[in-house]
């Protein structure tokens, strides 16, 4: 029996969501007060869900890992948020946004979910404006737009280079309003350790209080996981330091299926790695590709001189520069999707054309834009990004081109969810980057914010009622149930096991080793040999961890313990990612198997054999069970992605 039923409503694509809403079950106001909902994570998806559910009258308990819900990593999103408003009269529509997203995801996402996302995109912009999000405006007072990768229209709304911050502060405002009203109870500095399942339904969580170090039990009628992605499995990524995969990993180990783990996104424009002490990579917004032109020298010898620091970029004449994206993809040029731009940068650097001392960088040049628009116009568009670059690299991008290289940024994979965003565990929902639902094998720029807010403001508030409608007779769940005690014991045992090793290696040092294996063998390009090696090396490293980890045994605040617990989960997760990458014998989106490419180095999909979502069921650490959800494309024709013409 196939366990995966996506529960997609009947009817034509454009009517599915409307039909769902008209037929779903509702919970009346007096019953809403009796129902508790836990929301883990307060990024765009979590904060918007908690606020909206609180407004509706549910009792919401929200949890975040930082000292304040305003600090979730959604805050770092720079470029913008997509919507099909067609304010620019450039031919945009819900259908076009839907098609671009499906195509951008290389035909590995579910049509119905993506169409709903495109439909809701417009409501999000309306909602955020009403909240006082200061989007960029034209002189007319109307909203401004810019273009982003993978699209030929300008549909991206933005607030300087701080769009994520402004949208998150909007959601945080809504959340604060509900906290003030008492409908949402906020728990900060908490990390989820375990999911509690009672009679097959998600009924609560065990958290660790990061100040006292104590474990705590929390119960609810439903649990929403909105804890973001697992990009930090690579150690170096654009994610925040506390971004981790442990919450979704614990859900997986409790029976929620994990979908498409190998779909990880490498962002093309990040500041290159410069040393092994480095703790994270800094993204330079995709919006820079609107006006910046990417190039390397045409001549390998010139590149060598650049690497040795003997010449400067400005000394290389125009006719000796290779604007390789414009050359290879004339139709989209510098605005090809992220996976395509990243691979092209790697290809040039591997071929010996890298431009910095490590050979792992290409130029992103604003000279032409400054000549065309003037320095002031460029400054008003990208000023804060240029400043950030200069602060880190100590070079002025107005005078000398930026140097950039791809870095791990986002994970399209995540907990498997159906159309209602419910996982394979009843009553457990996943939203935002924590689920797998909308981006297929590659996410387009400015779509993460859109998805997080769509899930939180407009999808979950409907779908969760459909689940809770038959829970109204269930009274408040007691945390004295045996299942809570067992989960707490399990979490405590995991902590004790780590403290008891008393080895010689720090969590960071093992995490770096993990990151190295993942980046080299499960990174931008993958092959069978490397992936098999990675699986074996990850097994060894996991054993090494459990024999050598060293964590100070102190009361209260213990950041080393937090890190070690997360690394333990990342080590297991890394293996699932490699296993999935090995299974998927095709190239699609961010997943590039070198065995499967065209003669000119483009990804070669295999729709006959791999047109499915790979959803893994936990069995034991070494043998996850694969379930396939076949993908059907009825409204869009399956074809090779073409950004050339």
């Amino acid at each position: 029996m196939n366990k995966l039923n996506a529960n997609i409503p009947d009817g034509p694509l454009s009517e599915k969501w409307t039909r769902y809403k008209s037929e779903q079950r509702l919970v009346n106001p007096s019953n809403k007060r009796k129902l508790d909902i836990i929301v883990v994570g307060t990024g765009l998806a979590g904060a918007s869900a908690a606020a909206s559910l609180g407004e509706m009258g549910f009792n919401v308990k929200a949890f975040c890992i930082q000292d304040s819900p305003r600090r979730a990593h959604s805050i770092a999103a720079q470029g913008g948020i997509n919507a099909a408003k067609n304010y620019q009269n450039d031919g945009d529509s819900v259908m076009r946004l839907f098609k671009d997203t499906i195509k951008g995801g290389d035909y590995r996402a579910r049509e119905a979910n993506v169409y709903r996302l495109a439909e809701l995109s417009n409501n999000i912009i309306d909602q955020c404006v009403a909240q006082g999000v200061p989007f960029a405006r034209e002189y007319s007072g109307m909203l401004a737009n810019r273009s982003f990768g993978g699209a030929q229209v300008s549909r991206t709304f933005y607030a300087k280079g701080q769009t994520g911050q402004q949208l998150l502060l909007g959601a945080y405002g809504a959340l604060s309003k509900e906290i003030n009203k008492g409908t949402v109870k906020m728990f900060t500095r908490r990390e989820m350790m375990e999911l509690v399942v009672v009679d097959g339904r998600a009924r609560g969580i065990i958290t660790r209080n990061l100040v006292t170090g104590k474990l705590e039990r929390h119960s609810a009628h439903a649990v929403i996981i909105a804890t973001g992605g697992y990009g930090n499995v690579f150690f170096l990524s654009t994610n925040a330091m506390s971004s981790n995969g442990s919450a979704i990993w614990q859900c997986y180990k409790k029976g929620a299926f994990f979908a498409n783990p190998c779909f990880t996104q490498i962002h093309p424009t990040c500041i290159p790695v410069h040393g092994d002490y480095q703790s994270k990579l800094t993204l330079m917004s995709e919006s820079l590709r609107n006006d910046g032109r990417i190039w390397v020298p045409k001549d390998e010898k010139t590149a060598e001189l650049l690497r040795q620091g003997k010449i400067k970029a400005s000394e290389i004449p125009e006719n000796e520069r290779d604007y390789y994206l414009e050359r290879r993809y004339p139709a989209f040029g510098n605005l090809v999707p992220r996976d395509v731009a990243s691979r092209a940068a790697k290809e040039r650097c591997d071929a010996g054309f890298g431009v910095n001392n490590t050979g792992r960088a290409v130029f992103l040049d604003f000279k032409e834009a400054i000549e065309r628009l003037g320095k002031d116009a460029v400054e008003s568009r990208y000023g804060n990004l240029f400043e950030m670059y200069e602060r880190i690299v100590d070079q002025n991008p107005y005078d000398t081109p930026m140097m950039i290289y791809p870095a791990v940024h986002y994970t399209m994979g995540g907990l498997w969810v159906d159309y209602e965003l419910q996982t394979t565990i009843k009553g457990l929902f996943a939203a935002g980057e924590a689920n797998f639902s909308d981006h297929g094998a590659n996410r387009l720029g400015a779509s993460a914010l859109m998805q997080g807010l769509a899930d939180g403001y407009f999808v979950l508030p409907y779908t969760i009622q459909n689940y809770l409608a038959d829970q109204i007779a269930v009274s408040h769940i007691s945390t004295d149930l045996q299942e809570f005690a067992d989960a707490e014991t399990k979490a405590q045992r995991r902590i004790n096991m780590i403290l008891d090793v008393k080895g010689e290696e720090t969590a960071d040092s093992i995490h770096k080793k993990l990151g190295h294996i993942m980046w080299e063998k499960v990174g931008m390009s993958r092959d069978e040999k490397g992936l098999k090696e990675a699986v074996a090396e990850l097994d060894d490293l996991r054993r090494f961890f459990w024999q050598n980890i060293k964590v100070p045994d102190v009361d209260g605040v213990n950041p080393e313990l937090e890190k070690a617990l997360r690394v333990a989960d990342f080590l297991e997760m890394g293996k699932l990612i490699a296993t999935d990458a090995l299974m998927r014998e095709e190239s699609c989106g961010g997943h590039f198997r070198t065995e499967h490419q065209t003669s000119d180095g483009e990804a070669m999909r295999d729709d006959e054999n791999f047109r499915f979502v790979a959803a893994y069921e936990y069995n034991n650490e070494d043998e996850p069970r694969l379930h396939k959800e076949e993908l059907f494309f009825e409204s869009i024709e399956l074809k090779n992605r073409n950004y050339k013409s």
Binding site: A136, Q165, Y172
Partner: protein, 249 residues
């Protein structure tokens, strides 16, 4: 590069703290201040000690988690720079660097360099939002906003809530933080309707939590890593005065 660090160590809120001296060697000039602390902590952990606790997350200057008093200045006193984006090349080789937590009554120390800034959340909860609910809102272009106002609102809204302004102020005033939120929402038609109620509630909450009055020294503006201007305080004061005057009639 080599440095001598004098770091404030304090086990928890109730214990008495004090400075401890550490030496760090071979720090790459490109390393950020926090990466330098990572290197220090790696050494402490390997020797079986308790590493220095400090707050950090995004490490790209936007989440507002990090905030250290470095050589007597919040975030080290480098213009428009958060602690996480401060590179060690800005210091002199061999320099002694003093590192302390934010010092302000409403921000009690949790451990070492970590402080409790939840008071800032409480001020926002008192009214730092537009009270619209999800759904049922007009089309985004139905209400026009002049570019000038939108830009000013954006400048005010870029506050990251790090609390440097409070730490820098001799009165531990949060008026730059509060003024920025009041201004952002007052400048936009969507938020203006509630300005009077909002400003009264937020100022009352700020007072209740023990933040002081404006010291008029503009120390907050000088240290703000997002360069938020004191004109936002002026705008708040004007709104507050008007709200109070109107309230009397």
């Amino acid at each position: 590069m080599n440095f001598t660090l004098k770091i404030w160590r304090q086990h928890n809120a109730d214990s008495k703290g004090g400075f401890e001296t550490y030496k760090v060697e071979d720090i790459p000039p490109e390393a950020s201040f926090l990466e330098m602390l990572d290197i220090l902590n790696e050494g402490i952990v390997r020797k079986g000690g308790d590493p220095v606790a400090f707050e950090h997350d995004c490490r790209e200057g936007i989440c507002g988690c990090c905030g250290l008093y470095i050589n007597g200045h919040p975030h080290g006193g480098f213009k428009g720079t958060t602690t996480c984006q401060l590179c060690m090349r800005k210091f002199k080789n061999g320099e002694t660097i003093v590192v302390e937590p934010w010092r302000a009554k409403p921000f009690p120390v949790i451990k070492d360099l970590m402080v409790d800034r939840s008071a800032l959340d409480k001020i926002i909860q008192a009214g730092g939002y537009v009270s619209c609910h999800t759904g049922g809102v007009p089309d985004a272009n139905a209400v026009l906003v002049s570019k000038h106002d939108a830009d000013l609102a954006m400048d005010a809204a870029s506050c990251i809530g790090c609390g440097a302004c409070v730490a820098a102020c001799k009165n531990a005033s949060a008026m730059l933080f509060v003024g920025a939120k009041i201004s952002q929402l007052e400048l936009l038609p969507q938020g203006r309707i509630e300005t009077e109620e909002r400003v009264k509630k937020m100022v009352a909450k700020m007072d209740e939590l023990g933040f002081g009055n404006c010291s008029d020294t503009r120390a907050c503006q000088a240290v703000c890593p997002k360069k938020i201007k004191v004109t936002n305080i002026a705008r708040m004061n004007r709104n507050y005065l008007w709200a109070k005057l109107k309230g009397k009639h």
